[in-house]
């Protein structure tokens, strides 16, 4: 009897406590149901950037809320890729979703889930806001699937500024100069490159970035687009040529810090670290504009370390730039969502984030003097001068290739020092989904 009373009092105490906690906690949040009358003046945006980036995005949307009174509710998750599928399938899509991978968005376009933004905005207006290559990349199945918001640039080579100039090295303007510089460094007893591609389940993406950069520099952009869609096989002379050019650097043991063998085991985030040793373990590191987040504390970009544009190979293709970006697509048609999307097409919508640094805007009306540092301005200049901009091919290819066999194929290629090139390329082709 006593035990039962005690049990009940404990149980009821727990229940009361939990009820109190819930009551003190947040009021149960409501999510708009598209079928019912929508909550006036709230736009929900779902994306992959979190934490600090999320705060910066919210700060960038403040001017919009001030002007229109429309509240923007941003929600970010590291599992965006999975969750957006679940939400759309579950009939609970956000008003606007920020896709870091256009390939994922293309899937929704095929299912007619995404709104054609051509219906919302005039073509002339969009052409004013974006360069043509951005609009081309946002066009899927004949509809304007989204608007670009954030860009990042991959065609960059980082180098330690003081040591680089002390040694009398000069920034190369062509690929031949780049190789000559590498040879000169070896002759001086230095190691030119730091390369590391280890990235847990995604090991290999660093190599695919190199391949893409070289493809853009050796082939016309039409070939690149064909390669992305699978019309140009990996086992073609064009793609194999790119792998061989990459191999000239990667598989030369004198060129790579720690030798070719260390490429596979070096985490990509730690790879640039030897640049900051004294004397530097290496003098060049090709990586995207996000890499400073991984630099050791105290390294100042622009002083201790800086970057140059990865030089062109075939002068016919002047200045191609490889990169990535966030594409904002709309799932619900309401007046306030239209206004929000239109705001996202303006440079003003990126201003707060841009001023915080580490952000490149793809918008034509984002002004250069908004950028907080010389480095950020240089990104924007590279982007502005690009003869053509193309999105990371592996993000555009079907997942089985772009996030699968292309990565693993590169790992195989590196572990065999390029000996098995034909076999690797055929394996990647075979994995292409029908």
């Amino acid at each position: 009897m006593l035990a039962s009373k005690k049990l009940w009092s404990v149980l009821s105490l727990i229940i009361v406590l939990s009820l109190v906690l819930v009551a003190c906690g947040q009021p149960a949040p409501e999510v708009d149901d598209p079928e019912e009358a929508p909550d006036e003046g709230v736009v929900t945006i779902f994306g992959a950037f979190v934490d600090e980036d999320a705060r910066r995005f919210q700060a960038s949307m403040e001017p919009f809320t001030e002007r229109t009174g429309i509240e923007v509710q941003y929600e970010g998750s590291g599992d965006f890729e999975t969750l957006i599928l679940v939400r759309v399938e579950g009939g609970n899509p956000p008003d606007i979703a920020a896709f870091p991978q256009p390939g994922l968005l293309a899937g929704f376009v095929e299912q007619d889930q995404v709104i054609d933004l051509n219906d919302w905005m005039e073509r002339d207006y969009l052409e004013e806001q974006y360069e043509d290559h951005w609009l081309e990349m946002a066009t899927m199945d004949g509809i304007m699937a989204g608007v670009w918001y954030r860009a990042n640039i991959k065609s960059l080579v980082w180098y330690p500024v003081p040591e680089f100039s002390d040694a009398g090295y000069e920034i190369p303007e062509t690929w031949d100069e780049l190789l000559a510089l590498s040879d000169q460094m070896v002759a001086d007893g230095n190691t030119p490159w730091c390369i590391g591609i280890e990235s847990a389940g995604a090991t290999g993406w660093v190599a695919t970035d190199w391949m893409e950069d070289i493809m853009l520099r050796t082939q016309p952009v039409e070939k690149y687009d064909q390669w992305v869609t699978g019309q140009l096989p990996f086992d073609s002379p064009e793609v194999k040529n790119a792998a061989e050019i990459m191999g000239e650097i990667w598989f030369n043991p004198d060129y790579v810090y720690g030798g070719t063998a260390s490429i596979l085991t070096m985490p990509f985030g730690d790879a640039p670290d030897p640049m900051f040793d004294s004397p530097p373990g290496c003098y060049m590191h090709r990586q995207a504009s996000f890499i400073p987040a991984f630099f050791p504390d105290g390294v100042v970009v622009g002083e201790d370390v800086d970057f140059f544009y990865l030089p062109p190979i075939d002068p016919a293709y002047t200045m191609p730039v490889l990169g990535a970006g966030d594409l904002f697509a709309a799932f619900n048609d309401r007046p306030e969502v239209r206004q929000a999307v239109e705001f996202l097409t303006t440079g003003e919508s990126t201003r707060a984030w841009l001023q915080a640094g580490g952000f490149v805007s793809p918008h034509n009306d984002a002004e250069l003097d908004w950028y907080p540092t010389e480095t950020d301005r240089k990104y924007a200049e590279i982007l502005g001068e690009a003869s053509v901009f193309r999105f990371d091919a592996s993000d555009l290819m079907p997942g089985a290739v772009g996030a699968g066999s292309f990565w693993t194929g590169m790992v195989d290629l590196v572990s065999a020092r390029g000996e098995n090139l034909d076999e690797v390329m055929r394996t990647i082709d075979a994995s292409w989904p029908e």
């Binding site: 009897m1 035990a3 039962s4 049990l7 009940w8 149980l11 727990i14 229940i15 406590l17 939990s18 906690l21 819930v22 003190c24 906690g25 947040q26 149960a28 949040p29 409501e30 999510v31 149901d33 019912e36 992959a48 950037f49 979190v50 934490d51 600090e52 980036d53 705060r55 910066r56 700060a59 403040e62 001017p63 001030e66 509710q73 929600e75 970010g76 998750s77 590291g78 599992d79 969750l83 679940v86 939400r87 399938e89 579950g90 009939g91 609970n92 985030g269 730690d270 670290d273 996000f290 987040a293 991984f294 050791p296 504390d297 707060a352 984030w353 001023q355 915080a356």
Partner: protein
């Protein structure tokens, strides 16, 4: 006599030595995590945690810091620019909201399935009704259904009922996902209770409800407690169900989501996870230690019929 004694001592040494090795193997990674959580990020990224235990370290570089814990508990340092163009250094959200949310999700999600499962287990064990065997087989069969395949259909129904994004939605989801195991576990225990007690209570005129509340529940406390531990830990550590049904807006985020967010958009701040792991461990440890005397008894629940 002497040799017997010696043999006893050797076997004791063997057993205890073996246990010691096993304990070391189990606790070593946790120790490494603890040491890492107290080291500055640069050190975590460059050298192994055991190097911090050696007293040789260059001057100026502190070997240990509580900065990781500060950032986890009080919010990460972040800079952003306001609409007026001012640069602001602010700390991010602290853990308090996420902690409250986690508790608000976990407690009901633990208690509701236990109450329902206890009733069901009693019915399956001691009440005669048509189709009892069939329904019990169905419950056991549900044990093998992975919850992932139910996510989208349930989300669809929730959206139709306007439940998506509410705590009620997660409570119900966890209740549903936890019920088969709870019912099965409690059934095994409750069906072993001595028939005589129940029969005499029945003869004294007790109704099913009286027997359930006065006899069954107090007698099954060990089983209830051990299942409570299972369910509590499962819900506390759950990320997927929370992500799908309540979403990840800051005001509804649970602890696991906060932790995942803390590593940053590109995983560059993963060293904060070490401290985060220890902070989120605290509450489950308290629950475990306060219920653990039931745990050993409860694990045997239903294993020996007698």
């Amino acid at each position: 006599m002497n040799s017997k004694k010696r043999r006893k001592i050797t076997s004791e040494i063997l057993v205890n030595g073996g246990l010691l090795v096993l304990c070391l193997l189990w606790t070593l990674p946790t120790l490494g995590l603890l040491v890492s959580s107290l080291r500055p990020p640069r050190a975590v990224n460059t050298t192994g945690w055991w190097t911090a235990l050696r007293p040789t370290e260059e001057a100026g570089n502190p070997r240990f810091t509580i900065d990781n814990y500060r950032q986890v508990l009080l919010g990460r340092d972040m800079t952003f620019v306001t609409a007026e163009g001012e640069t602001v250094l602010a700390s991010g959200d602290d853990l308090s909201t996420a902690l409250l949310n986690s508790i608000a999700v976990t407690l009901p999600s633990t208690i509701i399935p236990i109450l329902i499962a206890a009733c069901a287990a009693y019915a399956f064990a001691w009440m005669k009704f048509k189709g009892r065997g069939f329904f019990f087989v169905v419950v056991v069969a549900l044990l093998v259904v992975p919850l992932q395949i139910a996510l989208i259909p349930i989300l669809r129904d929730y959206t139709r009922l306007n439940l998506t994004g509410t705590f009620l939605a997660v409570w119900l989801a966890h209740t549903g996902f936890g019920l088969p195991l709870a019912t099965y576990l409690l059934y095994n225990y409750i069906s072993t209770l001595p028939r005589e007690i129940l029969e005499s209570a029945f003869l004294d005129g007790a109704s099913h409800f009286t027997m359930f509340t006065r006899l069954i529940l107090p007698l099954s406390v060990p089983a209830l407690a051990s299942f409570a531990i299972f369910q509590f830990l499962w819900v506390w550590n759950d990320l997927l169900v929370a992500l799908v049904f309540i979403g990840s807006r800051p005001e509804v985020m649970v602890l696991t989501q906060r932790l995942q967010e803390m590593v940053g958009s590109r995983g560059q701040d993963w060293h904060l996870l070490t401290a985060g792991a220890f902070v989120t461990m605290l509450l489950p440890m308290i629950v475990f230690f306060s219920l653990q005397r039931y745990f050993v008894r409860g694990l045997l629940a239903g294993s020996v019929k007698g």
